[in-house]
Symmetry: D2
Subunit: 330 residues, 4 copies
């Protein structure tokens, strides 16, 4: 499967490199970026370079596109790729609003092309094993769910103002993990605070949140987020069921422990690129294998829409101070 990579920023470059050599059944055919220099820097293994999306879409040698461009371009590029008959892997989100997302997914489904959205945590070995064991009934039915994600630094004003807010931008990864592990979510209730960046107040955004979840299954849960975590990128998922509990432990950057006068000390990951380095590769491998086998890739269009719907419901709950039925969000 020959890939065109659209967008050669940090994530696009990482995907390009993986496609050039680390993904079985894939090759890197062309890299597109508005900056030719950026495209060239990502053209691993002798891939072609272009500044034109249209050219990629028109290229018969391109079987699949991996979209890692700025978010505002995602929806139209997804639609263009679908119309061009390409298999599509798109970084999250398709769009910040639900309507544009649903519209793009409609085009994908009408075109009948394979589509996967880049919810990378599903492919982290720990998250994946946890979901697999829940699915296999290892803890019986899920009763309590908890996901925590803490980012090392608050978003800048410029980033935050166009990001869609904490739920659409960041907590959507926890939301998607919750759906992946414990199924669809029926109702959410948000509680937020601004501690780290007071500029968020005027946007109606927060940097610290407790979001309670009621799942369709009857299970309940909570997502906790902070966007100022001095020790780095801190994630933890705990799932309690009738027969046991599963926990993906705090990952550490090295397995080195230092013992000294101050006790015992270990390292921590700084941020998501390092923490999910393997997951970025594994998710694309999964996409390639699924498409090659004629299976619909996952997470697919429905996940792109439904995880966003929960994030929008959470945003609405934050604004209104009341629980929001997810199904009421359209």
């Amino acid at each position: 499967m020959r890939f065109g990579v659209i967008g050669a920023g940090r994530i696009g470059r990482l995907h390009a490199r993986n496609l050039a050599g680390a993904i079985d059944g894939a090759s890197l055919h062309v890299v597109m970026d508005a900056s030719e220099d950026a495209a060239r820097a990502a053209a691993y293994g002798g891939a072609r370079v272009t500044t034109s999306v249209t050219e990629v879409m028109a290229d018969d040698q391109v079987d699949a596109v991996l979209i890692a461009s700025p978010t505002p371009l995602h929806a139209e590029q997804v639609e263009a790729a679908a119309r061009a008959g390409k298999a599509i892997f798109c970084e999250k989100p398709i769009a910040l609003d639900l309507g544009a997302t649903e519209a793009a997914m409609s085009v994908v489904e009408q075109a009948g092309v394979p589509f996967q959205i880049g919810f990378n945590r599903r492919f982290d070995p720990g998250y994946a094993a946890l979901a697999r064991e829940v699915g296999a009934g290892a803890i019986g039915s899920v009763e309590l769910f908890r996901s925590q994600s803490s980012d090392p630094e608050p978003p800048s004003y410029d980033y935050a103002v166009q990001s869609g807010g904490i739920y659409v931008d960041s907590a959507i990864h926890d939301i998607d993990s919750a759906r992946f592990i414990a199924g669809d979510i029926k109702r959410v209730s948000a509680l937020g605070r601004v501690f780290a960046n007071q500029q968020l107040v005027e946007m109606g955004d927060v940097d610290t949140s407790v979001l309670t979840l009621e799942f369709e299954s009857g299970a309940i849960g909570v997502i906790m987020n902070s966007r100022r975590t001095v020790h780095g990128y801190d994630l933890r998922v705990e799932v309690h069921g009738e027969k046991g509990k599963l926990v993906t432990e705090d990952e550490r950057a090295t397995k080195l422990w230092r013992y000294g006068k101050d006790g015992i000390r270990g390292d921590y990951y700084y941020y998501f690129i390092e923490r999910f380095f393997d997951a970025y590769r594994i998710e694309v491998q999964s996409f390639v294998s699924d498409v090659a086998a004629g299976r619909p890739p996952s997470p697919g269009p429905r996940d792109a829409v439904e995880s966003l719907r929960v994030a929008v419901a959470a945003t609405r709950s934050l604004t209104t101070g009341r629980p929001v039925e997810v199904a009421s969000v359209t």
Copy 2:
């Protein structure tokens, strides 16, 4: 300080034994229980035995009483002890309702006797160190709080029906820890489910809960509880602040790890007596040391009242499905 122990059940006996030999500055003078056999079984180190509370209160040799009788007797025994001028250590709760608790605390305060309530977690070395470091500013101001407590087995019908419900009976330990670590709580919102014992439904009680907390300080948090945990007694507190995070890790019953075909495996505590074995001793030592030094013991009357007030607010929120202002609960 010569102690009379009132009530020689499992907890009373443990306290009696500690008082007989493991608490500096204390001795066990007399053990009272309605069953003389029970009293005798707890009369460590040659302590006297009686079936009469009145006799204990009238005994001039008794400087302090440790009340570990059934909950419905606590309030009147606390009042009797206060009137008799004894220093008082009382197992939680004073009473299931706020009025009776406040009334008993008034008697204690009018009598001017030292009083401590048995919120034992405050004296667990991990919880104590966590609170001490928060108090010393190690993580700056608290932003996010989380306490989880999972009991190994759901309460029986007979126990549950007279227990006051999950918040007053069980989550009150998490509530008190939250207050101990992050200060007073302003508003709570409860979400509950019955998974393990359907008999709870008719009582309006639940066995699984997510309780969100808004602290007076502005911090937010959550308490999660389950009353069916197959691996045993499972507690965890995480406190995230502007400068770092503190976690009391899941305790294990032994530090033995077993490596075998199924991976690596460790033991877990079954329940609170084993888990807080040391804390039961340390809390009474703290009481004795405080009284000897003329310091008011802690947690004291205000904690007995205020932690209960939050638990009652949580119960009300569970019933109404809406957030409840703690101050509105009287």
Copy 3:
């Protein structure tokens, strides 16, 4: 079982306190110390006080003695107690030399009194569980054994010079654990260095050692010791067998983890009194229960002799630079 405690130093006082209230079936009858003040400070629960060992031995009310006096007095006090028909719990070692130890044990055996030596690690919940599982065949036959013990500070000159050296004084705990877990030891080979206290050189002693072990069973192993460990008291046992591995993990003083700019950080125990606080109680409880049940307490006379024999063999190997057959040491 009424106890006389001989020697009211730090360990004696801890035992006295436990006997006064924390040991089922035991009471503290009398405390003896050459310093009446020291004896009085350990006379918990109203125990009598004396400065005369003879008086303790002659006291018909004393059923058992717990000997925690200075090491040079152990052998003669053990013999006196045996002749007086007392059950005997004696802190390790009986004596620094094998002949005196064997002589004292002969007197004990001729007298037919119960005897236990204070190898406290056998009663640490982790060590005990490990030995129990090895005994139950959980890992099949033992193939590789490893014990590490690191003390926080090197011994002073005055202490070291009369201590018998690193093997007899300190590594004997690892040796006894090795015997407890994997059976008798056939041959040892010692390699040592002086890093922390150069005064040890003239005594022929070391502060850092690697001691290889060949067990009678065919298993092999190693004991590693350091007497300068800045992070505190650091112990670890690993036992590898044909069906798996058992490890007693590094214990930490609190289960608190601190996350901050420098990573994640935990506390460590300072020294053996804190680390084996529970074991000091459990070992005496075991002694009392065994005697009450008419069982010979364990570790008993043979362990006192045989663990010392291995330590003496190790000392000889250090001196000669060659492996030493344990059986050749008499």
Copy 4:
């Protein structure tokens, strides 16, 4: 830097894939294997395929060779590559005997080509951080070293008989780590047993070993090996110094913990390919970066020779039952 990969077995294929896309500054030019099918299966990113080593050496487009062929071919291929002026990355060992290894390294040094040997553990993030911190003085001078490596399964007869024995084949990784972390080794003493595969007895080989180390610096240490470990691939390094201790913890395959009736349970790595997946990439990246910068790659010829010399000394000690001076082995 255009690479020719020599040998397309499991490790060669992994390297080929990394070179095709995961290594900055490198590309995969040609893959050689005696089996054209095997070569083709490793020809990632459109690399050429050949069955002729000579052709690779003669190819001017090949800047560097990565030798992952069967061990008996290493020395001659290293020499051929050196004479052809290629930069050389060679899997360990160069040869099983010291003479052939030294001869090949002479050719490399005379040719002046960059050379690196595949001691992959040096590039594991945990091992690398440990060595870096020791080098930076974080724990002062090293006093005690310990490395443990346990393989999941004993070698087959056919493998073992041509492997050079446990020290040359397997423990050499621990030996090289010891040299990497604590410097050169002066004397070794081996103690071995056969537990898992009795066929090893006739070869004079063992499957379980304790090897004591005396470093040139004065530090002492031990390497422990087992070749039958039911839980998988189990490695641990502990380095104790005057100012603290560093430990690379047992790695687990996932960070998932399962809590259930049997306690808490985690996964383990099966073997080195999974455990050192990242290290295989990082070591080649380091080679490429060093060569590009004109730095001699490391570990280089001296490490290839000296780590083998220690392994041969250990083998000799096992045979003779006596300590062996490393310098005496030629």
